[in-house]
């Protein structure tokens, strides 16, 4: 009988069919509903397993750790996921955590003299390398016929972007919330990821799982997805209740270090697909594979990776998301 290590939990709900070693799940500090499940222990409780949560600072770290085999399930942006798959890391995408829309944007600093994309030439732009915003920045530059050699792109993690922005050592930045929200008051949004996504180059944050683990622990995976979907659903249905004073937002704030007051706004910028959307054409049903392939092709152009696979569909597992739909859950 496996005990969970989450605070205040009861004996595991559905008894596991097979004794499972501790499951290691990696997360990042993006702001989304399932963080509540981490913090409150509801995910551990729902799956009935001891879960070791590991926080990573970037998608690149996540995929390195996945490659080593120490992490079973993790969250990463579409760009690092495409890299991992192209590099034959044995993982599959099984859940779209959020479609990236307005919560990632390219912002020009007031006083930098940048009014439009064309003004970026000769300017310094900060972006966390190997992230979804890095990918989108390069796409945006290409779409605006700006050579990467004509701009200075600096590898800055979000916290360094804020510091550099304050010191006026960068002219623009392509970054996500909460840092995005901190810099927009003193800048102009040139482009959001949503706008780029609409040109057919969407980015998203997804959950990936080690294939061997997924095969051997299908039950766990189903319970896990179910709980994540439940939390997403709760947010969608009761958005107003997830206000700054709510227990949920406090839990998220505690885990990510974000200011509770900002959290409702930031979450509002995301779109969290429901199970039907998950398996639909636009995401796991086909769109995600296409987006990953596009991303990979782009990275190969940039000489960051060597190979682009013909079909990224083989790296996508729809079963777990589909299991929710089959049971008619959870869309009311």
């Amino acid at each position: 009988n496996t005990q969970t290590n989450s605070p205040g939990d009861e004996p595991a709900a559905p008894p596991p069919t097979k004794k499972l070693p501790k499951v290691t799940i990696g997360y990042q500090s993006m702001i989304n509903p399932w963080k509540v499940g981490i913090q409150s222990g509801s995910i551990a409780k729902a799956t009935g397993h001891e879960i070791e949560w590991r926080k990573f600072n970037s998608g690149a770290e996540v995929i390195t750790a996945m490659a080593s085999g120490d992490v079973h399930i993790a969250v990463a942006g579409s760009s690092p996921i495409a890299t991992a798959m192209s590099r034959e890391v044995d993982v599959s995408l099984f859940w779209i955590l959020e479609a990236i829309r307005d919560n990632e944007a390219l912002v020009a600093r007031n006083g930098s003299g940048i009014q439009s994309m064309a003004d970026l030439k000769g300017k310094t732009i900060g972006v966390p390398f190997a992230s979804t915003t890095h990918y989108h920045l390069l796409v945006a530059l290409e779409q605006n016929q700006i050579d990467t050699k004509d701009v200075k792109i600096l590898n800055l993690q979000p916290d360094a972007i804020l510091a550099a922005w304050t010191q006026e050592s960068i002219d623009a930045a392509f970054v996500w919330s909460p840092i995005l929200n901190r810099i927009t008051p003193t800048g102009t949004v040139l482009l959001t990821s949503g706008a780029i996504a609409d040109t057919g180059k969407p980015t998203f944050d997804g959950m990936i799982v080690a294939n061997a683990f997924a095969k051997e622990n299908a039950d766990f995976m189903k319970q896990f997805v179910k709980e994540v979907a439940r939390l997403d659903g709760d947010y969608r249905d009761n958005t107003a209740a997830w206000n700054a004073d709510s227990a949920q937002v406090k839990a998220i704030a505690e885990l990510t270090g974000a200011d509770p007051a900002e959290i409702p706004t930031i979450m509002g910028q995301y779109h969290f697909p429901d199970p039907n959307e998950q398996i639909g054409e636009f995401w796991l049903g086909g769109g995600a594979a296409q987006a990953l392939r596009d991303t990979a092709a782009f990275l190969k152009d940039q000489k960051k990776i060597n190979t682009v696979h013909e079909d990224y569909g083989r790296f996508i597992m729809t079963d777990f998301a589909a299991s929710l739909v089959d049971q008619g859950e959870p869309t009311p």
Partner: protein, 268 residues
């Protein structure tokens, strides 16, 4: 050199106590400047929080902690890593160093390996270590271990080479076997340099700690500082640096004391 104190036309020597007092005064003066700089608003708190804030933060860190662990837990996690690595390093580097000092064959065999990896930045091979060994304690300890291994091993080798040939020959004429020579002559003879190597090694270990705790740690002083940096919590960063500095300095003192105690003949 004799310790005879003669009037030196160059050096102006003070007593050890005077030097200590000067040091204490300097330290106080620096704290004062820091306090003034923040109290008078010369620098923004984001850049440099006031000493009071840092001290208060330290109190908080001890009571309630940061990033899900108290200061004590962070320190313990780091101590555990540095120590396991140190133990492993001593247990492997000393015998290998002795072998390299004795056998030119072992030297030829291992020199290229050690000389090549020694100057490499741990951060450069950290990605490889993570891919190979994962994100658990093993990878962290190995990274610190590697940083410690080279100095301990090379000092041991140098120490063995520095053992006066007369000592070894004397033991041989007194009927010592090869093993007895190693056990009774080479090991104690090289001890001063082995201890120096251990001291340098433990210093390297602390320097590598933050790198080791950069990826997927859940506690540790380095993790705490990095985590604080992500949230621009400069006060925690500074408090963390102080704690690391004090612990590292404490170790250095312990190692020096150990030297003093174990090899009182050093330099005589």
């Amino acid at each position: 050199m004799a310790s005879h104190e003669v009037k030196d036309p160059l050096n102006r020597r003070y007593s050890q106590r005077t030097t200590l007092i000067i040091s204490a005064v300097t330290t106080l003066a620096m704290l004062l400047i820091w306090w003034a700089a923040t109290a008078l608003g010369w620098v923004k708190p984001l850049f440099l929080p006031s000493p009071q804030t840092v001290v208060q933060r330290l109190g908080d860190l001890i009571d309630t902690g940061f990033a899900d662990a108290t200061l004590w837990q962070h320190t313990l996690a780091s101590l555990f890593r540095v120590f396991s690595a140190f133990l492993l390093a001593v247990l492997t580097a000393v015998p290998i160093g002795i072998l390299m000092g004795i056998h030119d064959f072992a030297k030829g065999l291992l020199d290229p390996v050690i000389e090549f990896y020694r100057p490499l930045p741990p951060l450069a091979y950290l990605p490889l270590i993570i891919i190979w060994l994962g994100i658990g304690e093993v990878a962290k300890v190995v990274l610190i271990y590697l940083a410690m291994f080279a100095p301990i091993c090379l000092s041991t080798r140098a120490g063995v080479r520095a053992v006066a040939r007369e000592k070894v020959l004397a033991a041989a004429t007194l009927g010592a076997s090869r093993l007895q020579i190693i056990r009774h002559i080479v090991l104690p003879g090289a001890l001063p340099e082995i201890l120096t190597g251990m001291r340098v090694g433990i210093g390297f270990g602390w320097t590598t700690l933050v790198a080791a705790e950069m990826v997927a740690a859940t506690a540790g002083l380095g993790f705490m500082v990095l985590n604080a940096k992500d949230f621009l919590a400069t006060d925690v960063v500074i408090a963390g640096i102080f704690v690391i500095g004090i612990v590292a300095y404490g170790f250095d003192l312990i190692m020096r004391g150990l030297e003093h105690w174990l090899v009182p003949w050093k330099g005589r």
